[in-house]
Structures are given as structure tokens and as C-alpha cells.
């Protein structure tokens, strides 16, 4: 429940170390490459899918195990259909143009991709500033649409999380087998 590190400086140092490992892994996965990311949408390279779904499965198993032990209390994001759907569509349009997502684009800067820095990162900062400027307006509109509460799948289905995680794992394993058989 309580995080290990409470002091501010300790947290900042831990953030830096965790980030170094995260950036290292993203680059080693080659998901910081424009061609690899775009390959996902062109169905020519599914590296991103492999990395993402492996992380989702291992993360889901790990975090639910830790939650069962009472060691972590994951915060559930408050979904709202309006912002999730409209935001998702806008994000996708930008993603297609840029060819990096915020994390992989930032990682791409570390491997020397200048388009990710002078195009992508600059644009992302401006986009974030524009959002902050329009926040007051958006809060009275789209941000309030379709709030559906924080019920999770296990709560809705009145089950423990494990059968759902088991199903997810089987689905992902089947997907991986399919991807490898197709040769992508």
C-alpha cells in the first residue's frame, strides 16, 4: 500500500533510474524507430504489438498478484466515453502524422532521430499548452460526456480477476502464435 520510498529526493532518484531502464528497453525493442511503429499500421511489422501485449499480460499478472498480497493499490482511471473516444480519434490522427507516440518519440530523440525532437517534441509541448489553455472550456463540455464510473470487469462480472487475466493471457498467446505463423 504505502510506497517504499516516501522522501521527495528518493522518489526523484527512483524515477530517474526507472526511466533509464524503461528507455533502454524501448530502444532495445526497437519501438523507438519510425519504421517499426509505422509497420504496425501497414501490417508489415508487428514488433509494437508483441512488446505491448507482452507488457500488458506480465503487468496484469504481476499487479494483481501484488494487489492480492495487499502490497499495491492500483488507482483506477475515471473513464468518460466522450473524452476517451474524441481524444482517442484526435490522438490517432496526430499519431499517423508524427509516427511516434509520446514515450517512443521521446525515446527516439535519445537514439538520434531529429524529426522526433524538432518536429515531435516541440509539437507535443505546443499541443499540451493548447490543451491547458482550452481546459476551462473543455471541462464544461466534452470532458463531462459519458461518465461511466470506475467499475472494473471483475466487479461487473462479479468474479475474481484471475479468470479474466487467464482469458486475456490465452487470447494474447493465441495472437502471438498466429503472428508468428503468419511470419510478421
Amino acid at each position: 500500500m504505502t510506497p517504499w520510498v516516501k522522501s521527495r529526493n528518493g522518489q526523484l532518484l527512483l524515477g530517474l533510474i526507472t526511466g533509464i531502464i524503461f528507455g533502454f528497453l524501448l530502444q532495445k525493442g526497437q519501438v523507438t524507430k519510425y519504421g517499426v511503429i509505422m509497420g504496425t499500421f501497414l501490417f508489415t511489422d508487428l514488433t509494437v504489438v508483441k512488446v505491448m501485449f507482452s507488457a500488458v499480460v506480465v503487468g496484469a499478472i504481476g499487479i494483481h498478484y501484488l494487489k492480492g498480497k495487499g502490497w499495491v493499490e492500483p488507482e483506477i482511471k475515471k473513464p468518460a466515453l466522450g473524452r476517451n473516444i474524441v481524444g482517442g480519434i484526435i490522438f490517432g490522427i496526430g499519431f499517423a502524422l508524427l509516427g511516434y507516440c509520446p514515450g517512443t518519440g521521446w525515446g527516439a530523440v535519445g537514439q538520434g532521430s531529429l524529426d522526433a525532437l524538432f518536429g515531435g517534441v516541440l509539437g507535443m509541448l505546443v499541443g499540451a499548452a493548447l490543451f491547458a489553455e482550452s481546459y476551462g472550456f473543455l471541462k464544461r463540455n466534452v470532458l463531462n460526456w459519458g461518465k461511466i464510473g470506475t467499475a472494473t470487469l471483475p466487479q461487473v462480472m462479479n468474479k475474481s480477476a484471475w479468470p479474466i487475466i487467464g482469458g486475456l493471457t490465452l487470447f494474447v498467446l493465441a495472437l502471438f502464435v498466429f503472428i508468428e505463423l503468419v511470419g510478421l
Binding site: 531502464i21 525493442g29 490522438f91 496526430g94 499541443g127
Partner: protein
């Protein structure tokens, strides 16, 4: 062991699994998600504050996401270092203005690629913040 670090690419399944483990570690150690985009918003606020401090102070968004350095902001700093180390050690680091795939499709113009990436970045981050992720 050392050889592993010299490799340009690791198995995507291994990388994904390790990111899953890292995400558990982040939950255990500080109780946070491996997220990036909020830090871009905080940084935008820090930069804006230099020029228009009152505007940032009065902005409702920056009251919720304070433009200051926190765990996640340091995570993002670390990511740049980690990516550089990975690319540098394996000989994969190269200064590139235009990605190869872009060049074969749209030509070698740096300004075209950078301006499209800029526009894409603006739209993408606005959408990401709107969607809440």
C-alpha cells in the same frame, strides 16, 4: 551477458515482459504508472511560466497538474538517457533528420518531415490529454 547489451535488438517478447516487470516495480516502489504525456504538459507549463507567469498561475489545468518536477518527470528524463545508452552501446545511435521509410514515401525534405511531425505532435498531444492518457 555483455554480448546481450551489444545487440541492437532484443526479442520483443522479452522486452515487453521486462516492461511489465518494471511497471510492477514502479507500482511497488512509488505507486505510480509508467506514463509520459502528463510530463509534457508539466514541461509546457514550466516553459510558459517563464514568459507569462500569471497566466500559468491562473490556469485551471496547471492547478491540477502543477508545472513542477516529480517522479514521473524524472522518469521521462531517465528515458532519454536509457534510450541513448542502449543505442550508443549497440552502435545503433545515428543522427537522422528524416526516417528512411518517410524518405522513400515522401522524399528527403527535412522541412516537410519536421513540419508534418510538428503538426502531428500538436494534434497527438492535444488528443492524449483530452483522452486522459
Amino acid at each position: 551477458m555483455l554480448e546481450l547489451f551489444l545487440q541492437v535488438q532484443w526479442s520483443p517478447y522479452l522486452v515487453g515482459a521486462l516492461i511489465g516487470v518494471l511497471s510492477c516495480f514502479a507500482f511497488l516502489s512509488v505507486g505510480k504508472l509508467l506514463g509520459v504525456s502528463t510530463s509534457f504538459a508539466r514541461t509546457a507549463g514550466m516553459i510558459e511560466r517563464v514568459f507569462v507567469p500569471d497566466r500559468v498561475k491562473g490556469n485551471p489545468y496547471f492547478q491540477e497538474e502543477k508545472p513542477e518536477i516529480n517522479w514521473q518527470w524524472m522518469l521521462v528524463v531517465g528515458m532519454l538517457i536509457g534510450s541513448f545508452l542502449s543505442a550508443w552501446i549497440s552502435g545503433d545511435f545515428s543522427i537522422k533528420a528524416v526516417p528512411g521509410l518517410w524518405e522513400t514515401q515522401f522524399g528527403p525534405s527535412i522541412w516537410f518531415r519536421w513540419s508534418m511531425a510538428f503538426v502531428g505532435g500538436v494534434i497527438l498531444m492535444f488528443g492524449a490529454r483530452l483522452a486522459g492518457g
